[in-house]
């Protein structure tokens, strides 16, 4: 459903992606991992068409990403930093995004789930980081698209919301959706993801399940497996 071939991207002198190939099949939860600056967000933004690659080809559901905006009907995206226009009310923002995409009633359920009712009439500029992230999650999950991309979804969430988010992700997976996650919280990744894609210096270093990663690195637990990759490659 997502296929990437020979992707190159440079920001000024900084080569972020250098010949990345990746295929993501339908259904399941994929975690994109890697150290800071390894190109996770750039990869995600390239799939969304927000970053324009220097070279390479990206196809989503068989459609070319280049010079196309239609395929984004099938993608829900949760950006890393939830920065919203600060003079809009939460209610208005949700209404506006619905107006721009299509109508849905799913938002009611999500608002209830994350207990956002008291904030609906508040301006986005006055919300706390965690509350903003909840609004962000509502916006990302309300359209029921087959591909969901979550960039650091756990940022700022309290423990209860985190549990709800995990349940939500599992429920979406049960519907047969494909979910792409980046996160630095290893316990979260270990719990939710089916497959790991490890980025290092703009290339795929490892792709496979968590148990495969443990065998490859000879480490008993996931966190140490990741750490050993980083130590071996930066020593």
């Amino acid at each position: 459903m997502v296929s990437i071939e020979g992707l190159y991207k440079k920001f000024g002198k900084n080569q972020v992606l250098s010949g990345l190939d990746l295929t993501i099949n339908e259904g399941g939860i994929f975690a994109v991992l890697g150290p800071n600056g390894s190109g996770k967000t750039t990869l995600i933004k390239s799939i969304l068409g927000m970053v324009i690659p220097n070279k390479g080809e990206i196809k989503v559901f068989g459609e070319q990403v280049k010079k196309n905006s239609n395929y984004r009907h099938k993608i829900d995206y949760l950006p890393q930093i939830a920065n919203f226009p600060s003079n809009l009310k939460v209610k208005e923002l949700i209404k506006m995004i619905k107006d721009l995409r299509h109508n849905t009633n799913e938002d009611q359920r999500l608002i209830e789930l994350f207990k956002l009712e008291p904030f609906l009439d508040k301006k986005l500029g006055t919300l706390s980081g965690g509350t903003k992230q909840k609004v962000n999650i509502v916006l990302a999950f309300m359209f029921d698209s087959p591909l969901i991309i979550l960039d650091e979804p756990t940022t700022g969430l309290d423990p209860i919301s985190l549990i709800r988010l995990k349940d939500l992700i599992q429920a979406e997976k049960a519907k047969g959706k494909t979910i792409l996650i980046t996160s630095h919280i290893m316990s979260f990744v270990e719990k939710v993801s089916d497959e790991i894609v490890f980025l290092l210096e703009g290339k795929i270093y490892f792709k496979g399940s968590i148990s495969e990663l443990k065998t490859k690195t000879n480490q008993p637990d996931f966190e140490h497996a990741i750490a050993s990759i980083l130590i071996n490659n930066h020593a």
């Binding site: 927000m50 970053v51 995206y77």
Partner: protein
């Protein structure tokens, strides 16, 4: 595009600055009419204010809006929307709300004063039309600058420089060239020179319409010969339109190649 335009427009309609801008023109119109009592003189004074102020406000507002709505833009970019419609929608939202402040702010006091019975109605309409053109031109130029500069401070700096150049420095350079080459026939050069700067072009257009070209001496006569005819008027409006279209095309071109 229309949806983005709608949201940008509403967003600006809520902002305090649109009202300040509107109130300023309202006040200016009222004060001029009460102090002057002469409609065509009021139009001339207004012209002097509009020619300088409209480009400045258009530039500053354009740059400010672009940088302030960055987050909103990023939110929109992840939606199934074309880049060109996002940026053109925002541009038109800014340009139209500024034009509306101008037209309503000046129009209301003049209508109450009895504009429709006066002969100055054409001069006044020309003033508003060129004001709207200048808003469209300078907001588009501002968006261009903001799209090309990630750094806010730099963007603001370039925007102010652009305004300063077209509103003031260009005239100085133009005048110096005319003095330096005064032995040569310069009527064509000065005509072209005027055409190349939207602020000068607007000023000349209005001045000649107001029949005070005698003040401009010999060049004024040549200008009158050119701009006074319908051919000259059409050419001027075509030039102003080109001044809008080129920067707008660059907004589309640039936005398609930008990383967010």
């Amino acid at each position: 595009m229309l949806k983005i335009l709608k949201y940008s427009f509403y967003d600006l309609m809520r902002s305090r600055w649109s009202y300040v801008y509107f109130a300023f023109y309202l006040l200016l119109g009222v004060v001029l009419l009460f102090l002057n009592n002469d409609l065509s003189k009021a139009v001339i004074t207004l012209m002097n204010v509009i020619i300088v102020l409209v480009p400045l406000i258009g530039t500053i507002f354009g740059v400010m809006y672009y940088y302030n709505s960055k987050e909103f833009t990023e939110l929109l970019l992840a939606q199934p929307l074309k880049r060109s419609s996002i940026f053109l929608g925002q541009y038109l939202g800014v340009a139209l709300s500024l034009s509306m402040s101008l037209i309503l702010g000046l129009g209301i006091p003049f209508v109450f004063y009895g504009l429709f019975e006066s002969s100055a109605i054409w001069d006044f309409s020309l003033l508003l039309i060129t004001g709207t053109f200048l808003t469209l031109i300078f907001t588009a130029l501002a968006f261009n600058i903001a799209l090309s500069n990630e750094n806010k401070i730099k963007g603001f700096g370039y925007a102010i420089l652009l305004w300063l150049f077209l509103a003031i420095i260009y005239d100085g350079l133009f005048l110096m060239t005319l003095i330096m080459f005064e032995e040569y026939p310069l009527d064509k050069v000065s005509l072209i020179g005027t055409m190349l700067n939207p602020i000068d072009l607007s000023r000349t257009l209005i001045l000649l319409k107001l029949d005070i070209s005698a003040l401009l001496g010999y060049t004024g006569a040549i200008f009158k010969q050119f701009f006074g005819t319908s051919f000259g008027l059409i050419v001027s409006f075509v030039m102003l339109t080109i001044w809008v279209v080129l920067p707008v095309l660059r907004i589309v071109f640039k936005s398609k190649r930008k990383d967010f």
